[in-house]
């Protein structure tokens, strides 16, 4: 897997972008993210991403954009640019072991073991 510097902006990752299908916005594609990472942009846009690996399948230079976005999120957390939702989710995981927070008994409908 290659780092984002190898991205040649060919746009072939557009074919697997579910967010592009939903919104029509290039900014939400893997190429959009690569452009922003190359420019060292820190923005909440990096939280709007399913982080699926299908984009890698069609990347001619094998850029692992999902990993790059993960790293960017780490950097944003370090710099205090976390989203409220993300912070709450992590607090919930630490405190209750689930991203949803403390569930009331009646909310637990199925238990898998």
């Amino acid at each position: 897997m290659a780092s984002v510097d190898k991205c040649i902006l060919c746009g072939l990752c557009r074919q697997d972008s579910q967010l592009l299908t939903l919104t029509g916005k290039e900014t939400l594609t893997a190429r959009g993210k690569a452009i922003l990472i190359k420019k060292d942009v820190l923005d909440k846009i990096f939280y709007i991403d399913p982080l699926h690996n299908s984009t890698v399948r069609n990347c001619p230079t094998n850029v692992d954009i999902a990993e790059e976005v993960r790293k960017r999120r780490e950097k944003m957390v370090e710099e205090g640019m976390e989203t409220v939702a993300n912070r709450r989710m992590i607090e919930n995981i630490r405190q209750f072991g689930t991203p949803y927070g403390k569930l009331r008994k009646e909310e637990i409908t199925e238990v898998y073991s």
């Binding site: 190898k6 040649i8 902006l9 060919c10 746009g11 072939l12 557009r14 074919q15 592009l20 029509g24 916005k25 290039e26 900014t27 190429r31 959009g32 452009i35 922003l36 420019k39 942009v41 923005d43 846009i45 069609n58 001619p60 230079t61 094998n62």
Partner: protein
């Protein structure tokens, strides 16, 4: 300004946000420009109003499909970028398709049953009809089906004066400098049911040239694809020159559908393999077939891998450094070849626009976009 656009296209379809502008400031060419605003359009009426606005306010407009141009065809210079991704509807009527510019070619072909649109570029999975019209695209089957202009019946376009008119295929290849396409009527071809292939592995360039001379006038040939020795080696294939012939009939020795698909996939993945090895800059050279031997010798001598539709007179050499490309351009001029006939001219290859074409485009630009509001700095 933003308020006016918000009323026109809706708040969610306009952005001057620095993040969006950054992303839309470049394309497959990796050239960087600057974006003033991005607009995602849904209808021809919206496009019309935007063109009229740009004309009134003397703003540059850049129409953008998938943004895969390798020559900077959609790079803005403080421009309004119109993204056509959402204008992707089409209607099928007998052997015609009326398509909006944002239709993706593979998606269109997957919706057709016994017909297909035969101009299939390598990036057909993402390229849009609007972009293909812009550069009068060609595809792997050019030998049989020609170019985009052979399969476009008419084009609905809003020119730089704001007039919405229907044109013939004479506006194809104008790279968005005279008007913004809003609808295209495409002709469809009968699907080819019986296909077969032959693969020739050649030891020398002379053998390639001889073989090509022998097969090129075969009437059932759909495509003659070539992979150079250097490219084959880098791709992990046998160290030979490859000629892959595809027929619309059962002339070839390879008739098994799965095997044909496997060979096609190998051929389609050549650029991917080369890019993995660092040969990421792809060029397009066209030449007369009697100069093929010379060109191949030169490329192999320099260690430049190449592949392409030699049957149509195109070759795509791949480079690992941009600085090596200049020398290649010089050589192509020397052998009276041409650059830009496949990928278009955009910003990067303006110097290769033939005089005749430049003159024609300049006249068209003067007539259709006298205020110079469309795709500034491209082609002419």
């Amino acid at each position: 300004m933003n308020l006016w656009f918000e009323k026109l296209v809706g708040k969610e379809n306009i952005s001057s946000d620095v993040v969006d502008c950054e992303v839309y400031s470049t394309d497959g060419s990796q050239i960087r420009g600057t974006t003033h605003n991005v607009l995602w359009v849904n209808t021809a009426q919206e496009v019309h109003q935007i063109v009229l606005y740009a004309k009134r306010n003397k703003m540059d407009l850049v129409p953008r499909g998938a943004g895969t141009s390798l020559v900077g065809g959609t790079v803005p210079f403080n421009s309004l970028v119109i993204d056509f991704t959402k204008m992707d509807r089409f209607t099928i009527k007998d052997d015609r398709v009326i398509a909006e510019p944002g239709v993706v070619l593979d998606h269109l072909n997957s919706c057709l049953r016994d017909k297909f649109f035969p101009i299939i570029p390598e990036n057909s999975a993402v390229c849009t009809i609007g972009g293909m019209c812009g550069i009068n695209a060609t595809g792997i089957y050019e030998r049989k089906y020609g170019r985009m202009s052979d399969w476009v019946e008419d084009v609905e376009m809003i020119d730089g004066t704001g007039k919405l008119r229907t044109y013939g295929n004479e506006v194809l290849g104008t790279e968005g400098i005279i008007g913004v396409i809003t609808k295209v009527t495409l002709k469809l071809a009968e699907i080819v049911i019986e296909r077969s292939m032959d693969i020739f592995k050649c030891e020398t360039i002379e053998e390639v040239v001889d073989k090509l001379a022998h097969v090129q006038f075969h009437k059932h040939i759909l495509a003659i694809e070539f992979i150079s020795l250097r490219a084959a080696t880098l791709c992990g294939l046998e160290t030979k020159y490859y000629l892959v012939l595809e027929y619309d009939g059962l002339e070839g020795d390879i008739k098994d559908y799965d095997e044909i698909q496997r060979i096609r996939a190998i051929r389609k993945n050549v650029f991917r393999r080369l890019a993995e090895k660092g040969f990421v800059y792809r060029e397009d050279a066209s030449f007369s077939l009697d100069r093929l031997g010379e060109l191949l010798s030169w490329l192999e001598h320099k260690g430049i891998p190449s592949f392409g539709s030699v049957g149509s007179g195109y070759l795509f050499p791949c480079f690992d450094e941009r600085k090596d490309i200049r020398e290649f351009y010089g050589y192509i001029k020397e052998i009276r070849g041409a650059i830009g006939k496949v990928f278009g001219y955009g910003i990067l290859k303006k110097e290769f626009v033939p005089d005749e074409l430049k003159e024609k485009l300049t006249l068209m630009k003067r007539e259709h976009d006298p205020h110079e509001i469309l795709n500034m700095g491209k082609v002419i």
